[in-house]
Symmetry: C2
DNA sequence: CTGAAAGCGCTTACAG
DNA sequence: CTGAAAGCGCTTACAG
């Protein structure tokens, strides 16, 4: 290695010790909160440290303590405001806890296991996985090493990892009830990631809700929307151009619902009069006057806090936490009263 | 430290060496690409490693090599899709380069220096700073240690750090020209972060452009919009409700422009007929049919790649890179032809 | 409270 | 190609 690389003035604790006239251990103690050290020594150390621009090396500390004080965050599609907001919330909360964040972007295709391996190399204290499916081999690896893993907004049946998610079935039922009350007669559905539990549960709930209202769900039109704006737009465009145009549409997340509303806008189809729309998540955009989307709110901040509580709990027993979604009625559905006359 | 903590099976290279019947150094070589090792030994090591679920400890590696292979990302408001998209782009590119990402969220108030200090503790190989102003003392600290810093979408005059930004003055001029051509007569401006160079330059350019078109800029109405949706909404609401309602509005970023458009929508003011709007950034939302915003596109991916090139350049000479914004004309302004008749 | 010393788990000249 | 050994920069019993 070239000697120029590490940079000119990178003082180590020994350098500080020498300058301060104390032992290296004293310097170490000075920088550990609660280290037993006299005020006078502390003073000497701090002066010397300031003079040398000393910053403790946390790699060395981690090696000694076997704790990296780092949490890995595996996030998905940041183009979806739900996850961008979640990331914001996670990073704010973790910073409060003085944890460093190692960020991993779930690759579009495949190799999640590689990311998990790198997390293990970096000796993270915990792992939050947001939108992705992880092999049971990898979670076993983590658990084996005593590294807690929590899935956020996903639940993987049969995997013994903690998870925090919303009662997606209940949300689906609520969506159905809301569209029925809004006066819907011909129902349609735009679905998201086919292999996700969130999507499956929301769809199941929706069908269950329709059934309970006496709707013949064999008539239910379904299009995949890929959990993206463009997917939602295209799916809605197709649905709304068809001969048997639906008048009630459930999108299994908000970003697809925004696409659907814009498709209706482009087709000059009135919302909610010609077609009512319900989404899921309550992302910030849903409230804007361009959309005013009726949706099922996921209590994001609560979910983030729950996730971190599970993650950093002393005894990491895999726990499944489910929170309730809440209906936020806006202008893309008619309220019951409006429907009656 | 309780012995339970570090987790049951966390094998070290010595363990692998013992099982494989080779030296610890051989294990190390097996896991370094290009390590001089025979195929046979490699084979033995890998078998033993797999058996023990061995994962190298990168803390120890970093301590030895004095390289963490980690880049710190200091990001700002993830509620602004511009930064969410930028983060996505950075994380994808850095992952390609096999760099780990240490994520820091710029606190709403103040203490950025603390974040920088923590980055230094973690021995990061480089720092990307997105939306924030950093003290020159801190950048000096970084430079001193030979840690390259690059400012993204910010330029701090007088600070000897690299930066990548858009020609914001030129963008402001273009915004003015576009609004003039669209038939504007009474101009207004919604400004962003008061202490940011991006805002200042865009405003300067805008005024310069108006001046060049013979507009009396003493008449220019200005409102602060804080670079947020809500700020833009409120500012526009105030401007559009006033007696001397402007008919041409420049918002110094897109997210404020979306707020402005929604304010006009709520006030039943037609765009672009009653008021034309130009934004800055070209975030994904700008193209949606709910908005169809005319804006100045920042070439985000190019900027991200430039930033990483500067960051990881062998010899880190502070370099200022400026890219050109490009006008994307959509429906919130009238084209020149439409204006003539 | 303080210092000398062992140890965290790797990498890498050095000698063979 | 391979192993023994020093070293990366801390933390933390241990003894005083």
């Amino acid at each position: 290695m070239s000697d120029i690389q590490p940079g000119p003035s990178r003082a180590r604790s020994v350098d500080v010790a020498r300058l301060a006239g104390v032992s290296q251990a004293a310097v170490s103690r000075a920088f550990r909160p609660g280290g037993s050290i006299s005020a006078k020594t502390l003073q000497k150390v701090m002066t010397a440290a300031a003079q040398l621009n000393y910053v403790p090396n946390s790699m060395a500390r981690s090696l000694s303590t076997r704790q990296s004080n780092t949490v890995a965050l595996l996030i998905g599609d940041l183009h979806n405001p739900f996850y961008a907001t979640a990331l914001d919330s996670f990073s704010v909360e973790l910073q409060k806890l003085d944890k460093q964040i190692l960020l991993f972007n779930a690759p579009r295709a495949g190799d999640l296991d590689g990311a998990i391996l790198r997390m293990l190399e970096y000796q993270v204290d915990g792992i939050v996985i947001t939108p992705a499916t992880v092999s049971s081999r990898m979670t076993a690896l983590c658990l084996d090493r005593g590294i807690p893993v929590v899935m956020f907004n996903r639940f993987i049946p049969g995997l013994s990892v903690s998870s925090v998610s919303c009662d997606n079935v209940a949300g689906g039922v609520l969506a159905a009830q809301t569209l029925v009350r809004s006066g819907g007669a011909r129902f349609a559905l735009i679905s998201g990631g086919a292999d996700t539990t969130t999507n499956r549960d929301r769809v199941n709930g929706f069908e269950r809700g329709l059934l309970a209202a006496g709707v013949d769900i064999r008539q239910l039109l379904t299009r995949p929307g890929d959990y993206t704006y463009d997917g939602g737009y295209r799916a809605a465009r197709s649905l709304l151009s068809s001969a048997q145009r639906p008048d009630a549409l459930f999108c299994t997340n908000d970003i697809m619902a925004l696409g659907a509303i814009d498709a209706a806008r482009d087709l000059k189809i009135a919302i909610p009069d010609d077609v009512a729309v319900v989404g899921f998540d309550d992302i910030p955009d849903a409230a804007r006057s361009a959309y005013r989307l009726t949706t099922l709110r996921q209590p994001l901040n609560l979910m983030v806090r729950e996730a971190l509580t599970l993650l950093l709990a002393e005894e990491a027993v895999p726990t499944v936490r489910v929170v309730k979604p809440r209906l936020v009625a806006r202008q893309t559905t008619r309220s019951q009263e409006e429907t009656i006359p």
